[in-house]
Symmetry: C2
Subunit: 332 residues, 2 copies
DNA sequence: CTGAAAGCGCTTACAG
DNA sequence: CTGAAAGCGCTTACAG
């Protein structure tokens, strides 16, 4: 910028005005400065300007995802990117892999880089660590799961309602022995889905049968094994509610291995690619990660614009996508 | 930092030394400074330090992907993130959606934010625009596709060889009428795959039959329609080489709709989730986006460390994953 | 071992 | 309309 000013024979401030499109520079000087800019290939340094700028904004935000490589996180990230682009803001992406320490480390790194805001899919179990930063002006929105020990904006799926819809769908097909196959109960969304499952069964007058509940499954293989075991037990389920993506995949794989995919009904929570091309096609309660991401980003930018209304939790509805596997009737 | 120095009763430089873990500060002063840091909740400002620092590095890099939401891009992004983390570097992610102007705009934005390096999956057809920045010290590595009109490092898949392997596999099963269903020929990787297809056929003494080549397909639906049309033509193919992810999905969907998925062989280029759970499971030539991303990032960080050896293009091999659809024999 | 002065590239708050 | 001085939060290059 100094070089541009020297070449154009003007003051530093005049170059700054031209570079930022500020009004009040004569046409003649504007042209001279522009010419010098082009000639030197000058590129403004946003990081320097944000340092001095009154609001201190860097025009960057960070997302802490579960794992960019999984479709849910990727769709959420893309939605955040699209909203950020409308605001001329760049997005850092990072994966915490369900590791609370990693989440904290990533948040700290984002803060050191002075992001304006953070969108976090919680891995940690205590978000109090963000309180001081927030007081210092950082905007934070939680996505997919609510924060703990911190009052903040959050955008989540209707987990309990979605689970209820899934189980009701199986009940309507005539099933009475419906298994729940799910992730760690310590994950808030997983707990909500299990609660929904229990609530739907209770509403139908069915007691809880713990032999039909399998939780704590952390991989496709673990889910497949759990389903295989369920199928082999004395009084097996006639239908499965699989409470998450990878678990649905494991369940389908186990049913195929046992050649029972056309006998045992399945409704999965969360949609996945190719679900409609499987045989049978898989009925799911679909979440809407794009809408979750977009909504979270919109809330974030509202806060950055100064909105100081009370924090709120927005719930994004799920939708039942009927494809075949969930409509298999129980054996006569 | 000024506040910390005041509270600890030391000079600014001493705080700087403690914050950066530089040696040569007495134990006593270190303790006093540390206490002040904790008490004030001081967080160093990386963006300010990089401004003054000798090397000017910001400890950030940017990736311009096709679209974070697709599995290939997402896996690549994740691999870049993992390598960057080892170097204490944060990663911006952005999607160009095959739009060259968007790629340029994103690169310009990253440069304004003073990233140390860029990993680009090319959408533009001329990368000369990066030459001045590179001279100014920016590191750039291209992934998945080579750059044009710019000498630079690139990491790509063995597209031609992979296509040859796919077609040879179908030839070995006895097929003679093998269709090519692919994306825009203007995409360099797509052109390579088509060339590989032609080369493999020629090597088997089979002439080119243009009625079996469908290109320019930009969506799942377009691919499905093209395959439906192929199946209806007078002398239909007995096997399909689908040259990309979404096209394979469309082809499988069209075959299922025609109930011919067990009669017409398919080998796809690029693996996809659930390929092994389809009926028949889909044989593919798998790319390795994780390795592409990791390799590109490693090259980038080598350059940032000062490696000035000649630019090179690294080729990541593909692998044939035999699952069923590619082993269907031609009708007797 | 410690710290005062200068400066990174820019914007702010003025004065002309 | 134009620009010189001060300062954002830090590191560099010194001097003690």
């Amino acid at each position: 910028m100094r070089d541009v000013a020297a070449l154009a024979g003007v003051g530093l401030k005049t170059v700054s005005r031209v570079a930022n499109g500020e009004p009040g520079v004569s046409i003649e000087l504007t042209a001279r400065v522009q010419k010098a800019i082009d000639q030197l290939g000058y590129q403004p340094n946003l990081t320097a300007s944000s340092l001095r700028r009154a609001d201190g904004k860097t025009a960057t935000v960070g997302t802490v995802l579960e794992n960019v490589a999984n479709p849910f996180s990727a769709a959420l990230q893309r939605a955040v990117e699209d909203v950020a682009r409308e605001h001329g803001v760049l997005v850092f992406a990072a994966s915490a892999d369900e590791n609370g320490d990693r989440e904290r480390a990533l948040a700290a790194s984002f803060i050191a880089h002075r992001v304006d805001g953070l969108i976090i899919v919680p891995a940690a179990h205590d978000h109090g660590y963000l309180a001081p930063e927030r007081r210092a002006g950082l905007a934070v929105v939680f996505a997919d799961r609510p924060p703990r020990f911190l009052d903040a904006d959050a955008v989540v799926s209707a987990n309990r309602e979605g689970a209820i819809a899934a189980v009701r769908h199986l009940l309507a097909a005539g099933h009475r022995r419906i298994a729940y196959v799910g992730d760690l109960e310590s994950i808030q969304t997983a707990a909500e889905r299990l609660a929904g499952y229990r609530e739907a069964l209770a509403a139908a007058g069915l007691g809880a049968d713990d032999s039909l509940v399998r939780v704590g499954l952390r991989s496709v293989d673990a889910a497949a094994e759990a389903v295989s075991a369920l199928l082999r037990q004395p009084d097996p389920p006639t239908a499965l509610f699989t409470a998450q993506n990878l678990i649905t995949e494991g369940a389908v794989s186990a049913l195929q291995a046992a050649r029972r995919q056309h006998e045992v009904a399945v409704v999965g929570f969360d949609d996945f690619p190719m679900a409609d091309l499987l045989d049978p096609a898989v009925t799911v309660v679909a979440q809407d990660p794009t809408r979750i991401g977009r909504t979270a980003a919109e809330v974030l930018f509202r806060r950055l614009r100064g909105d100081a209304s009370p924090y709120e939790t927005l719930v994004v509805p799920t939708s039942l996508v009927v494809r075949g596997s969930g409509e298999i009737p129980p054996p006569a």
